[in-house]
């Protein structure tokens, strides 16, 4: 029998980035916050110390910091009519585990999305007419505006020491920045990172075609940095062990460097580690969450933790799953187009072209996770979609983020996979190649969604979360078109060898890492018929339950998703201060 613990004011499920940001706002006002996190504190382990931090096999190949798939995997089917399969070792995306969550092992690319992204449906309809968005694409406005999010973007960038080049300062376009950027109230708090050789080659080629390349914004610290909370970052050492790793130099903006050490000093803050949440207790009559149930992984004992307010701040997938497990909100049904929980599940559409230069030294090991050089001309609706037959687009860029040799060795097509010829190709091209890539948007499709899979259970006997997902016609057409643009830029670089110019094709392949940017499942919006949470991230069917993270995105853009979800988390923190004073629908 589970023991019931004393009630707490705000209980947050998942101790990652969003929980840290929400708690920062709340505990500054002495509001009681308890975070439940199933993982550990990584700060003093082999993962955070030299020389053991620099171990590609342990942390990257064997996923030493990631969610344990033997405990809780996801299942997948590409279409509703297909059987599902549990993904027994997921490589396509990598949720993290432990205090700081996936934001410990991210590479720090910290975008604001386009000014029109939160009003994406309005944008397309006003530019191309009401009939332009296909019926199978439930593209929705978020119910919040870029202007409302801007102060929180600004705050997040200051807290995480984001390095970058402003492109739009209070409405004035700035040379060297992204001319498609939404208006910023301030410059980036740190100057851009050093450009890579790959970035330099890309920059010249892009400029020769009339595009405007700029340094991608990154929470990799250009220099020693102290944030407004007095928390410090060291200088980035371009060590090439950024994404999939914890930065032992504390030079990457992460929750375990900038948020949790500070929060642990605050009296109103508590984090319980090795606490695996099994569900949210929901009073359907009263339309309230009464608390959460969790297992203490040290003792194996189960507890009920009552709360005034419950916040789901776990990874995209877990936020959705917890609502489905306890029947909070109506599950989405793609057949009838009714229900909401699990809808608007999106990924991203990645493609790229390898380029090889005999006489240029790319030195891929001289890199940080955020050293990107990017153009935004072909992203989202930054270009005219009339007659193209698809919506969306992608940011296009060049970067090397690492030269880790197990995974980062491009060789020309046709190279044998072993033997002397294979060695010769690796020796010849390792330091002389890079990839020109597109990070493409992924707009929602009626047939891409999340629900429970009762055929398979996790280590606690609960059903797995099932993805029904594939790259649908819109994304395939978009990727083909954007990849032709990559090809044109790659050609302008005049490489000795150029890889094939092909867009992403179905089917979604779980064996290949693409991006950890899975979004949706608990979309936000102004209309309860199409959203799980309100524009204030408040659950429509439980006024004291809030959901934060990429699970609230109604679509996925052609940028890394961390910036907006961080801004939304800080805003939620402020909203909860107001809610704590006077509980109500916000």
């Amino acid at each position: 029998m589970a023991k019931t613990l004393p009630k707490r004011s705000v209980v947050i499920v998942g101790g990652g980035l969003t929980a840290g940001l929400v708690a920062r706002q709340l505990t500054a006002q002495n509001i009681d916050v308890l975070v439940l996190e199933r993982g550990v504190d990584h700060r003093h382990g082999a993962e955070s110390r030299l020389p053991t931090q620099r171990d590609e096999l342990r942390w990257s190949t064997r996923q030493g910091l990631m969610q344990d798939w033997s405990v809780q995997p996801y299942s997948l089917r590409h279409n509703r009519r297909d059987p599902s399969y549990p993904i027994r070792w997921m490589s396509a995306f990598l949720p993290g585990e432990g205090m700081g969550g996936a934001a410990n092992h991210w590479n720090g690319q910290s975008w604001r999305w386009s000014e029109y992204d939160p009003a994406i449906r309005t944008r397309y309809e006003s530019r191309y007419g009401k009939a332009f968005i296909p019926a199978n694409m439930p593209l929705r406005d978020w119910g919040v505006s870029y202007a409302q999010m801007e102060p929180y973007h600004d705050l997040f960038e200051k807290l995480f020491g984001v390095a970058g080049q402003a492109g739009n300062l209070r409405g004035t376009i700035q040379p060297g920045g992204n001319p498609f950027e939404g208006p910023r109230s301030n410059e980036y708090p740190q100057k851009p990172l050093e450009i890579t050789e790959a970035g330099s080659i890309f920059k010249s080629a892009a400029q020769s075609l009339g595009f405007k390349p700029f340094p991608g914004p990154a929470a990799n610290s250009t220099g020693a940095y102290t944030n407004p909370d007095g928390q410090k970052l060291g200088q980035c050492q371009y060590c090439g062990h950024c994404e999939r790793f914890i930065c032992e130099a504390q030079a990457k903006g992460t929750p375990e460097v900038l948020l949790y050490p500070m929060l642990l000093q605050r009296k109103s803050f508590e984090i319980r580690l090795r606490a695996h949440v099994l569900g949210v207790n929901y009073d359907a009559q009263a339309k309230r969450a009464t608390g959460v149930r969790y297992v203490d992984l040290v003792t194996g004992k189960e507890y009920v933790q009552p709360a005034d307010v419950v916040v789901l701040g776990a990874f995209t997938m877990t936020n959705t799953r917890l609502l489905l497990l306890d029947g909070i909100g109506k599950p989405y049904d793609p057949g009838t187009q009714t229900g909401v929980v699990g809808r608007n599940f999106c990924y991203q559409t990645l493609s790229g072209v390898d380029v090889f230069f005999k006489d240029r030294w790319i030195n891929p090991f001289l890199a940080s996770g955020g050293t990107t050089t990017v153009i935004d001309e072909f992203n989202n609706d930054n270009f005219d979609h009339s007659g193209l037959g698809f919506l969306g687009g992608g940011s296009i860029g060049a970067s090397v983020t690492n030269g880790r040799p197990i995974a980062s060795r491009a060789v020309p097509a046709g190279t044998p996979r072993w033997g002397t010829e294979w060695k010769a190709a690796n020796a010849a091209w390792y330091a002389h190649a890079f990839n020109v890539w597109a990070q493409g948007s992924c707009y929602p499709d009626r047939e891409n969604f999340l629900d429970l899979d009762h055929a398979y259970t996790d280590a606690y006997g609960q059903p797995l979360l099932r993805m029904t997902f594939d790259f649908r016609d819109n994304e395939v057409k978009m990727s083909h078109w954007v990849t032709q643009k990559i090809g044109a830029i790659a050609k302008a670089m005049r490489p000795d060898i150029m890889g094939s110019v092909e867009g992403l094709k179905p089917s979604f392949d779980t064996r290949v890492y693409q991006t950890t940017h899975v979004t949706g499942g608990t979309p936000m919006g102004a209309d309860p018929a199409h959203s799980v949470v309100s524009p204030h991230l408040q659950h429509w069917d439980a006024q004291n339950l809030f959901v934060v993270g990429a699970s609230v995105y109604p679509h996925n853009s052609g940028f890394n998703p961390t910036g907006p979800l961080a801004a939304l988390a800080l805003r939620l923190g402020d909203d909860l201060i107001s809610y704590a004073k006077r509980p109500r629908m916000l």
């Binding site: 030299l50 980035c236 090991f365 033997g419 330091a431």
Partner: protein, 241 residues
């Protein structure tokens, strides 16, 4: 000078005796592999420290496999001398081989390849199943186990397996090779030498990967677009431990 003749390793002698006594063809390959390593091998080869997972037959197969995939050439010594077989042994005998982090609950159904391997076997079990099946194919084709094939025959067989041209009733050898054997081969070559492969950082030297600890804030500017001077002299975790 050590008391024991370095050319006469106890293991080699044991295997020779075993082969003579039993007439066991299976160990002959291992003997050959060990002989070839000991005879005239350059000083910079991985010391043999015993197998914790492979039996002699399995060791013979794996040693032949890594020597075909990594022949001695101008880039590296042969696979055994680079420690690649030791890497396979340690990984399959350890947490990876036992399926750490892999979801191994049923029910079991074969799905499209994009779903990844759908097998109740641990990687260690799957490795053995595939090894036996590959040996069966070798016997059918050449009336010899894999380790007794000529390098050209063995190479051709591996290519056919990679391309899914050979299958047995019990196991998809293509999936065995492409999802288990080949990734282990790449990891053996390029992971930190503390795991037993990449002996003497030979594959890192081949690439020009400088290894650790990589505090490159100044290098980033100084060597942008230029050869990196330390690329030929990489450092590993052991160098800093």
């Amino acid at each position: 000078m050590s008391i024991e003749d370095p050319g006469k390793s106890p293991r080699r002698e044991f295997l020779k005796q075993a082969a003579a006594l039993a007439g066991a063809a299976a160990v002959a390959g291992t003997v050959a592999a060990v002989e070839s390593r000991a005879a005239g091998a350059p000083a910079e080869t991985a010391p043999f420290e015993g197998y914790e997972f492979f039996g002699p037959d399995e060791a013979a197969f794996v040693e032949a496999l890594v020597n075909v995939m990594c022949p001695a050439d101008q880039y590296t010594p042969n696979g055994v001398d680079c420690g690649l077989a030791t890497f396979f042994d340690r990984q399959l005998g350890g947490a990876f081989g036992q399926g750490k982090g892999r979801y191994l609950r049923g029910p079991w159904n074969q799905g499209p390849p994009e779903m990844g391997l759908q097998s109740p076997l641990t990687p260690a079990q799957f490795f053995k199943v595939g090894l036996n099946a590959a040996n069966e194919v070798s016997m059918q084709r050449h009336s010899k186990p894999f380790e007794q094939l000529s390098p050209a025959q063995a190479n051709l067989l591996l290519h056919d397996i990679q391309d899914e041209h050979v299958n047995t009733d019990s196991v998809s050898l293509g999936s065995w090779f492409n999802s288990l054997v080949y990734p282990l081969f790449v990891q053996a070559c390029f992971s930190d030498p503390m795991y037993g492969g990449n002996y003497n950082k030979v594959f890192w030297k081949m690439l020009g990967y400088p290894g650790l600890p990589a505090t490159h804030a100044l290098d980033m500017v100084q060597y942008r677009g230029k050869p990196y001077p330390q690329a030929g002299n990489p450092k590993s975790i052991l160098d800093f431990s």
